[in-house]
């Protein structure tokens, strides 16, 4: 357990949060190396299936980050993402995954420092929770549904 380092997947929207992450880098703000950023067009594009697939494939935490409310490039993508996030958290808890493993925040393109702070905080939360137990669990692959 001593050598364990969490794997965290961050879905960051192209228009705000990814720019925020970029700014964090430009300004040399440090955040943990456990963070792996995936750029997506909009936080509303992040399907619950993507998040759970990340957990299944070994992520210990998944974070979805988008534009601040009202700032969405596609008007209401982040609003839909928030609704899905709250519902998915409830489903995760029922299926036995700690709902704290899924995080969400609104980070604008000018908030490089805040991006680094939120990532550091989320990494700490995941370290306290320990490794995710769903990975490698002997359940079936998604392909069993037939499509």
């Amino acid at each position: 357990m001593g050598d364990w380092k969490p794997k965290i997947v961050v879905f960051a929207c192209n228009w705000c949060s990814y720019q925020g992450a970029d700014l964090a880098g430009n300004l040399r703000y440090e955040y943990p190396s456990s963070i792996n950023i995936i750029r997506v067009p909009c936080s509303g594009r992040v399907e619950p299936e993507f998040i759970v697939t990340a957990f299944k494939n070994g992520a210990d935490g998944v974070f979805v980050s988008g534009c601040r409310p009202g700032d969405c490039h596609y008007k209401e993508g982040n609003h839909k993402a928030a609704l899905r996030f709250h519902l998915l958290k409830r489903v995760l808890a029922d299926v036995g995954i700690e709902s704290e493993r899924l995080g969400m925040a609104w980070i604008s393109g000018s908030e490089g420092k805040r991006f680094a702070e939120i990532m550091t905080e989320f990494d700490k939360t995941i370290r306290e929770l320990g490794p995710n137990t769903i990975k490698g669990s002997p359940s079936h692959s998604p392909e069993v549904s037939g499509w």
Binding site: K80, R84, L87, R90, V91, T133, S145, W147
Partner: protein, 317 residues
């Protein structure tokens, strides 16, 4: 005279409803000039596993396996059916996705055995007896199949050629499939036997079909909260109808009689995980975040038929 098409039905871990649907499709099933029913157990005949095993491998043209796999004998029968049948159809939601018994995957084997043999108010079990796979009774040795405790859909056990959703599939659909096989021959293996359209497409309440804009959902309701309006979309009224992502080969029967679609038809093409896609579809229709907290038991609501075929498969711990 051309050779008859040989078909077989086997009921694994299911309720027998799919076999009843096949019986309701009697006119097609009983086309005995062209069809031969090689095996139909345990619903219609009292044939045993040995009788199925005695059929030469590959001798059956089309096999219908209904029910999920949770016991060792069901696994054995599923593997035997696979050997005997040229084409194997996961017939009904249990075989295709786990079905209602798949809700058992929200609990561990230990929890299930504890509830059934110790915990219910009608249980009297002072000796603490639980099912054993073998036991000696006088001179006889008795055996029972092993209870795995985890529900698996048929595809998790054997290769499946086709899937058919429905709990049970509507008898007219079963009849249509059998007539299609008789007239056009066996289709090459593919996924689901379906038109690929949603329940909404078959539903007269669909606001889009009426040329209206879909409204956001402003309230969360259950069927016990009163009688839904007979004309308006059930989702718009706040009843959780899963029609938007369920295959509508049933013709949208439930919404027609004021009952929200529960999703028994299986996912439409492109959906890998029915429950998660339902989270996505339903949540984005809601007006605000407070409504999310009011949804009763979301995991069991959205995974009513599909948990064993989901990305999770079962409860994590």
């Amino acid at each position: 005279m051309p050779e008859k098409l040989k078909i077989a039905f086997f009921l694994g871990g299911g309720c027998g409803g799919c076999d009843m649907a096949a019986m309701d499709a009697a006119q097609a099933i009983l086309d005995l000039q062209r069809l031969e029913i090689a095996f139909w157990s345990p619903i219609v005949t009292d044939n045993k596993y040995e009788d199925l095993d005695a059929i030469p491998d590959g001798a059956i043209d089309v096999g219908f396996y209904s029910g999920m796999v949770q016991l060792s004998d069901q696994e054995l029968a599923a593997k035997t059916m696979r050997r005997k049948c040229k084409t194997l159809i996961a017939y009904g939601t249990c075989a295709a996705l786990g079905g209602i018994p798949g809700l058992g995957n929200f609990h561990t084997r230990k929890e299930i055995l504890h509830t059934v043999y110790f915990d219910t108010c009608s249980t009297e079990n002072p000796a603490g007896i639980t099912p054993q796979t073998e036991c000696a009774e006088g001179e006889c040795e008795l055996t029972l199949p092993e209870f795995y405790g985890e529900v698996r859909p048929l595809k998790a056990v054997v290769e499946v050629d086709h899937f058919l959703g429905g709990c049970p599939p509507h008898y007219s659909l079963v009849a249509q499939i059998i007539r299609n096989i008789l007239e056009k021959g066996l289709e090459p293996p593919g996924p689901w036997i379906t038109e690929g359209k949603t329940v909404c497409e078959a539903c007269a309440r669909n606001p889009v079909a009426k040329g209206e804009q879909r409204k956001v959902v402003g309230a969360v309701k259950r069927l016990t909260d009163g009688i839904p309006d007979g004309e308006q979309c059930l989702l718009e009224q706040g009843y959780f109808c899963l029609g938007p992502l369920t295959q509508g080969s049933c013709g949208g029967l439930c919404p027609r009689v004021n009952v929200p679609c529960a999703g028994c038809g299986g996912p439409i093409p492109g959906v890998r995980d029915f429950g998660l896609r339902a989270v996505s579809a339903v949540a984005s229709l809601l007006e605000n975040e407070e409504l999310v907290a009011q949804i009763p038991g979301p995991a069991k609501l959205f995974y009513r038929y599909t948990l064993p075929a989901s990305i999770f498969g079962k409860k994590v711990k």
